[in-house]
Amino acid sequence: MSAHSRLRITVGVLAAVAAVAAPWLVDAYGAALLARTLVLGLVAVSVTLLTGVAGLPTLGQTGPFAAAAYACALLGLHVSPAGSIGVVQLLAGATVGALFALLTSPLVVPARGVVLLMITLAIGELVTIAAGRWRPVTGGTDGLTVFAETRPVWGLPPLADDRARYLYALAVVAVVVGGLFLALRGPAGLLLRARRDDEQRLRASGHGAAGLVLAAFVAAGAIAGVAGSLLVTTQQYVSPAEFGFDVATLLLLGAVIGGTGSLGGAIVGTAVVLGARDWLSGILPGRAPLLLGLVFVGAAYAFARRGAEPGLPSLPLARPRGPRFARSRLWRRREPRTAS
């Protein structure tokens, strides 16, 4: 095992330990903040799946995120007691998110590049506006408050405080990200990255690209949907302010900072971005957008692709992750040497 992977594993273990211990190190407000960061981090993971791994840049993952969050809120408000069971909410969230992706797929699947960014931006924004206007269902700009606390499973006590809610969210995020990581180590990850590199070449090898793209969108929608249900569980409140263009760009920034195709990086990157935003609002209230804008510009320079090939390792913070597909016991080879 190379020094590089040893380092990565060490960092990963430390991060995991820190993540579990965190709620005991901060107060209730801190735990709630951490939970929210985790939730947005999971949406950023879905952004990374599309943008980094599949090469489909998106500003619209807030769409399935919002749809699922509202669906789970409504579930918690109107269906009881089943609507307050964590497992039910997670399934509902994933399903609504996946359905949203499926329904919007005719708009997004044929699109690539800048056009895809525009379309996904428009979709995400329209969902937010619609949520703000559809008072009877979504509560309009006031949002929906869910009073019933979530029980993870039938028979368990409800999650009564912020720490419990945070740990629940952590567990769910760990499972989802872990599952996605494993799935991407196999053929799915290879095919998505090949499509990202050269779609025409992929077709020339007999693979149909449209199905691949659709699957990626639906999977990302399901993941964002799970995040939506977690939002309701941890905050017990949902409103249009959680979504929209601003949030989508923050998530994109977090995913970019975290590194092309890095799932864990997406969560870390999101935490960094949210932390920076809150810190800036604290030191210079009112001027935060200006400073945040400069942060975005700086990040664009720092993380702009320098290599000749898109996706080819040149990012300073993290290396691109890829399935260890070729690293079987049958086949010993050297670690990929990446230029930087």
Binding site: M118, L126, R133, E199, A288, P289, L292, R305
Partner: protein
């Protein structure tokens, strides 16, 4: 029974709104079709124009004209600044472009609010334009009627520039094959500068002309950006595989802009609160129909990415 009469004014409003969106969206189409740039700061450039009008207009005609001259210059300069900021970013790196231009939009919006305050600003037009005029038995804003004329003239002018001037020809050529244009000796940096400055000027002019319609305020930039994006997506983009080239795309953008304008005006009058759904539905129908048409008809080239862009 639908009282059609009640919808004349909203329908007229829709045309006015649509023309405004056309002027603004044309700049976005230019950025994107020629220089492959997604400029998320485009709404901010509109706001620069609108704020300029609010600052310079004092109700007199000379001030009106001065404002209309200064606004495109100011916004064009801002566009040029964005071009400069984008210089170190690779042409194909759309994510970095999105992050950078969004950062500019955030920072620019903050600066405008710092300079002009957080409220929506009133815009003072000359007295002759501030009143109403009788149209088909209804009273309608004189300014909007004049805008109707001015906007149409601007649309015709844009079409003429694209179709008949050398600059327009370059625009069409670059939209078809940017590498070819670079090989002809036009440096990409110069192209980017020209495109962003022109797009800025268009947005600024739209901002000044449209200030009485979508006025200067913190919400103007995001609204204008979103609606322009929808127009660009609906209208297709500059350049096409057919012989019409981007001359045809000016027309498509106009039609799309009018459609969005009508949805925002007439649609709201017919079904209040339904505007976002209607916009969404329009996008869904157009995009799905477009991709269906492509798969049903004789597809000549299997290069999906570029083929989609060259709708």
């Amino acid at each position: 029974m639908l009282r059609l009469d009640a919808y004349v004014i909203p329908a007229l409003d829709g045309v006015v709104y649509g023309l405004l969106l056309f002027v603004v969206a044309a700049g976005l189409v230019l950025c994107f079709g020629v220089a492959d740039i997604l400029n998320l700061a485009h709404g901010t450039l509109y706001a620069v124009g609108a704020y300029t009008a609010a600052a310079l207009w004092n109700g007199g005609w000379p001030a009106l004209l001065v404002g209309l001259a200064v606004a495109p210059v100011a916004a064009g300069a801002a566009g040029a600044a964005v071009a400069g900021l984008l210089a170190p970013v690779a042409r194909r790196d759309h994510l970095a472009q999105a992050l950078l231009t969004f950062g500019v939009a955030l920072a620019g919006g903050s600066l405008l609010v710092a300079a002009f305050g957080p409220d929506d600003l009133p815009v003072r037009v000359p007295a002759a334009l501030a009143g109403t005029v009788e149209v088909a038995g209804h009273r309608y804003s004189a300014y909007r009627l004049v805008f109707l004329v001015a906007g149409t003239a601007l649309a015709v002018l844009l079409h003429a520039v694209v179709a008949r001037t050398r600059a327009g020809m370059l625009v069409r050529a670059a939209a078809d094959d940017a590498e070819m244009v670079a090989a002809l000796g036009f440096s990409p940096a110069r192209v980017r500068l020209g495109v962003l400055a022109s797009a800025g000027a268009l947005a600024g002019l739209g901002g000044a002309l449209g200030a009485p319609i979508i006025g200067p305020g913190p919400g103007a930039a995001p609204t204008v950006l979103l609606l322009s994006l929808v127009v660009v997506v609906l209208g297709g983009t500059a350049g096409s595989a057919g012989s019409a080239g981007s001359v045809g795309s000016v027309g498509r953008t106009l039609v799309a802009a009018l459609a969005v304008g009508e949805i925002q005006s007439l649609g709201v009058a017919l079904a209040p609160g339904a505007a976002p759904f209607l916009l969404f539905g329009a996008m869904a129908v157009v995009l799905a129909g477009r991709s269906l048409a492509k798969s049903a008809g004789p597809i000549r080239t299997w290069r999906p990415a570029r083929a989609w862009l060259r709708t």
